[in-house]
Amino acid sequence: MKDHRSSRRRILQIGGAAGLASIAGCNGLLGDSSGGSGGNGGGGGGENVVGQIGSGRSPFGERDISGGVSMTEMPDLSGELTLYSGRGEPLVGQLITFIEDLYPDLTIRPRYNSASELVNQIETEGDGSPADVFFSVNAGSLGALKDRGRTVELPTEVLDMVPDQFHDPDGMWIGTSGRARTIPYNTNELSDADVPDDIFAFPETEAFRDAIGCAPTYSSFQAFVTAMRALNGDAETRQWLNGMLDLGLQHSYADEFLVSQAVADGELRAGFANHYYIQRVLAGRPEAPIATAFTEGDAGAIFNVAGACVLDTAEDDTLASNFVRHLLSAEAQDYFARETFEYPLVPGVEPIGRLPTIDELNPPENLDLTQLSDLEGTVDLLRDVGML
């Protein structure tokens, strides 16, 4: 056990010794070098340097790990862990495998499904649930499990790794990466100035007529509407939705990646989407005519988190919470920035791509993420105005 630990330390420290500056572009533990752009670049030599998870490639250029707490400084993980992941395997599979491979005595049994189905599953399984940790795409589903009394409190050391607004006030869940609400727009059709800073100016914006789209069944869009209800009340939200429908809002898209694709294709002039979908379109098509606009201080600019919680059915609470801690390590935070184009939540790790930093965003004040878990009223409202 001790040997494992020290050898792991050594492996991880090779990265440190070679200088963190040299890591970018080198191969990770997984050794998948295909597509690694300039694998030997950065002066790190040809050796396999561990530290950066994945192939190190990034469509937006190379970068270093900076800031945060390394996995080397975290407690060892050993035992068996059942992880219910509402985040897709293509997005987080590498990270999970990396953590598992780091510890010889650790077995992770990941179970991938949509977040809402996993919440339904955990609820239905009751006391018989094999789940230890739930890793989710949004605060809403974490809050839903908290409301049903299925979570246990995380240790203070873990909660303190992120600013207070990014974890549950009662410590029942913690954000691991962030996503900003944005307005993707087609740069051939519009300029940044054409997109109002105020979400309530949208229904009067003729440039959007019949050419703005959204995905009303998608959880992040529902979180946005929930935020508007919390900030401005149901009546004003209903008025806004009706105004958008009168403007010809295309509410037929199944998810926001499709909304962003439609914007890039010119099928739409603008849309409602989480920021990383735009980055994902650009990663595949760097020349696509799509850019990101933000509203200011309103529901259109909320900053939601993906996060994790430890379940009341967890066999080993310590192992479970230490696993969550690893999701907040410098390596994992860097991974979220590079591979999923999200905002790292641990101070000192910066986002990537053509994005403003977290401090430059203007999310609404007086709104905390726990207010976003009341989806039922939102669904009723969306159905009432005819969007669902």
Binding site: G35, T82, S116, T217, A254, R280, G284
Partner: protein
């Protein structure tokens, strides 16, 4: 529904006990998930339940779903029966190849199909871009009812095709010859001899189509058609398990209504020839119509298969972000898919046998109820049924929870009626004089069944197994909920790719799904030689 007197032998009063017990046990097992549905639905307060059931939008979606069911069922019969006739009774070229090709749409997951049709024929889809140089600005709207009906029909008519095919295979053509010698035209002979013989099988297939159209989740959602299931879907994604269960129970009620209707119209008179297992000679020559027939087969299978595969390939060609090992294909996925599907087909056939036998040969209120019970699981949306089994599994069967055993059980509950319907139709055509003759020659009742009845119903047995196999290959919602952690199949792999927006990466597994299913169909079809000489 079963008030009329039993029509065959000494049924009703003398049900064979072991078979009845087996049949009752199967019916009880497939009804178990309802326990959870009722339990969860009760969490909705009475007043809220009434409010939900009577709000205008609920009535509207009911009407929408009903229209979809009727149109899709009629269209599937109009496509499935002629195709079955062409591939069994005529000299259509490449018959075996076409048999596989027109069966295969069944393996395309409907959400993949619907998605592809939207991408291809959407207002600004791939097809429009292709036609753009010719000045085509916009294609007619595919969203809504027309798109939903088209896509559901294209991916469900094989139910009718396969069940009808099985009936035509074991049809005694001497009857048709007799009709022809009595100066019936070919059409009259078809109408007076063939149609009554294949009616139960067509009915079985049509029932599967109707219930599928009623319970399909994916297509109405993607086609933006406000069907009943879309409402359930919305509840589910907003953690409204209880309301979703309540709505699903309403779906079960509608299912019972459809089953009742079908009982009234379906042919229950058993029809059999004096010398069964006679000949299927006398292939109908198509003459010049051959080209029309080939074109029709090509057009239908092409539309249903080439559109989704083509669209996925376009996505693949467009490239996109490289996503590493998670989406790399492994042969184990195909092995897993085939393994659980074959398991489900086998178990469903064995479990369905006593139910189908009793329903055909010893018709009574009880045996009817057993048979109808098998349809309930089929009419409940997969995700609801999956959760019901999650509940049963964690509460009463923890050792097999998240193992392939419970997974296969889920498939059987979902798809059992596909096997039962097909086998029942076959049993109806078995002349009881034949096994009786075997009995008088000294066989035990089981011996007579094995030596005489079984070979006669073999096409129906295989047809039913093929249906279960093909639909299990593409089953997604229950698979995601009940599979062992880390267990991947072709369809979960497709889901992994599409759920994260990597549509291009779904092309390879989708092609493999279709390819593997085609090979499996080839194996199943090669067994057909075993039926009638």
């Amino acid at each position: 529904m079963a008030t009329d007197t039993p029509t065959i032998d000494d049924a009703g009063d003398s049900l064979p006990l072991p078979t009845t017990i087996a049949s009752g046990a199967v019916a009880a097992a497939v009804l178990l998930p309802l326990v959870w549905l009722v339990r969860t639905a009760l969490d909705v307060g009475l007043s809220e339940a009434i409010a939900i059931s009577t709000r205008p939008s609920t009535v509207q979606v009911f009407v929408n779903s009903a229209a979809l069911v009727v149109v899709v069922t009629v269209a599937s019969v109009l496509i499935g029966v002629p195709l079955a006739y062409l591939t069994v009774r005529t000299d259509l070229p490449f018959r075996r190849g076409f048999t596989i090709a027109v069966s295969l749409p069944l393996v395309v997951p409907s959400y993949v199909g619907a998605f592809a049709f939207v991408s291809a024929f959407g207002p600004q889809g791939a097809f429009q871009r292709l036609l753009a140089p010719l000045g085509v600005e916009r294609l007619p709207e595919i969203y809504g009812f027309p798109g939903a009906a088209l896509v559901v029909t294209l991916y469900t008519y094989p139910y009718v095709f396969i069940t009808t095919r099985a009936a035509l295979k074991s049809l005694d053509t001497t009857l048709i010859d007799a009709a022809r010698t009595l100066e019936h035209s070919r059409w009259e002979a078809f109408r007076r001899v063939t149609i009554p013989q294949i009616k139960p099988a067509v009915g079985a297939g049509a029932l599967l189509v109707a219930l599928y159209a009623l319970s399909d989740f994916g297509t109405p959602a993607i086609m933006q058609f406000d069907a009943f299931t879309r409402v359930i879907y919305v509840e589910f994604t907003s953690f409204g398990r209880d309301v979703a269960s309540l709505l699903s129970l309403q779906l079960v009620a509608v299912t019972l209504l459809i089953l009742g209707l079908e009982s009234h119209v379906r042919g229950n008179e058993p029809l059999y020839a004096g010398r069964q297992g006679g000949r299927t000679s006398g292939v109908v020559p198509l003459g010049r119509w051959k080209y029309v027939a080939v074109a029709a087969c090509l057009a239908i299978s092409g539309l249903a298969l080439i559109v989704p595969v083509g669209i996925l390939l376009t996505w693949l060609a467009q490239g996109g972000a490289e996503v590493g090992s998670a989406l790399a294909f492994r042969p184990a996925y195909a092995v897993n898919s085939i393994g659980v599907s074959a398991g489900a087909a086998l178990v469903a056939t064995v479990a369905g046998l006593p139910v189908a036998y009793l329903a055909a040969k010893h018709r009574s209120r009880l045996t009817d109820a057993f048979e109808r019970a098998t349809y309930v699981g089929y009419a409940v949306p997969g995700v609801v049924l999956g959760l019901a089994l999650v509940y049963l599994g964690t509460s009463y069967a923890q050792p097999i929870y998240q193992t392939v055993y419970l997974l296969i059980a889920a498939y059987v509950v979902r798809f059992l009626p596909q096997a039962v319907g097909s086998m029942r139709a076959s049993f109806l055509r078995v002349n009881p004089a034949l096994p009786e003759a075997a009995r008088t020659l000294g066989r035990s009742s089981f011996g007579a069944f094995r030596a005489v009845t079984l070979p006669l119903i073999a096409p129906g047995l295989l047809g039913g197994a093929a249906l279960v196999f093909l639909t299990t290959m593409k089953e997604l919602p229950a698979t995601l909920l009940l599979r062992p952690s880390g267990f991947k199949t072709l369809v979960t792999h497709i889901w992994t790719a599409t759920a994260s927006g990597y549509y291009g990466h779904a092309a390879v597994p989708a092609l493999i799904l279709v390819g593997v299913s085609a090979l499996s169909m080839l194996v199943i079809l090669s067994q057909e030689g075993y039926d009638v000489k």
